[in-house]
């Protein structure tokens, strides 16, 4: 998996909010990514989009700046950095529209093998939470860093 990403990203000191400029055919557009704690304090909602006049994230706007893959790869990069800082946080994300959710499903499905090395990838479906697999109809993604457990050998001195 090798996609271009935006390399200069602004961040809060608590690593909860990020921003970068998308540079494309319609100019420089400020993008913001946020991780917000949900009612379940183990789960953080990932939202991203353009910054509107109220300084909020507009995730319905169609920017059409001609660099969709670069923006998505940058958001994926941010999620990777975030989950390195907070490996115990579950990240919930979904598209603001069915089309966007389908796009994310395809992107994750396409890179499932590589992503699965780093993440547990689950899906919220109508009946609950299941392991994500390609072509599964889902309502949202739920991911978390894989917890690496080290096995220690106990040495006994005789």
């Amino acid at each position: 998996m090798k996609y271009e990403v935006y390399r200069d990203i602004g961040v809060t000191d608590d690593f909860s909010l990020f921003e970068f400029f998308s540079i494309g055919k319609n100019g420089d557009i400020l993008k913001r990514v946020t991780f917000t704690r949900t009612e379940d304090d183990r789960v953080y909602n990932l939202a991203f989009g353009d910054v509107d006049e109220a300084d909020e994230i507009d995730d319905y706007v169609v920017t059409d700046n001609g660099e969709r893959n670069k923006v998505l790869a940058t958001v994926a990069f941010i999620a990777e950095a975030y989950t390195r800082r907070f490996p115990d946080h579950w990240i919930l994300f979904r598209g603001s529209t069915q089309e966007r959710l389908r796009l994310y499903r395809m992107a994750v499905g396409l890179h499932l093998e590589e992503l699965s090395v780093l993440y547990e990838i689950w899906a919220l479906v109508d009946v609950g939470i299941v392991k994500f697999r390609k072509n599964l109809k889902i309502n949202a993604f739920l991911i978390r860093r894989k917890i690496v457990t080290l096995a220690y050998e106990t040495c006994h001195q005789i």
Partner: protein, 53 residues
Amino acid sequence: MKRVTKYKSEITGTEVTFTVSEKLNKLKGKVLAPKKLAEANELLRKLKTPLPK
């Protein structure tokens, strides 16, 4: 002085610079995508199974 962190992707090896922004720091704690958060909470409330262990 700028507070900068370099991060190298474990998946792609790409390196990115994160710079702490005082402008962004002022937005800490504000819910910037309230509708999205409400939808996430709604999905979690409807869950019939617990989070994976």
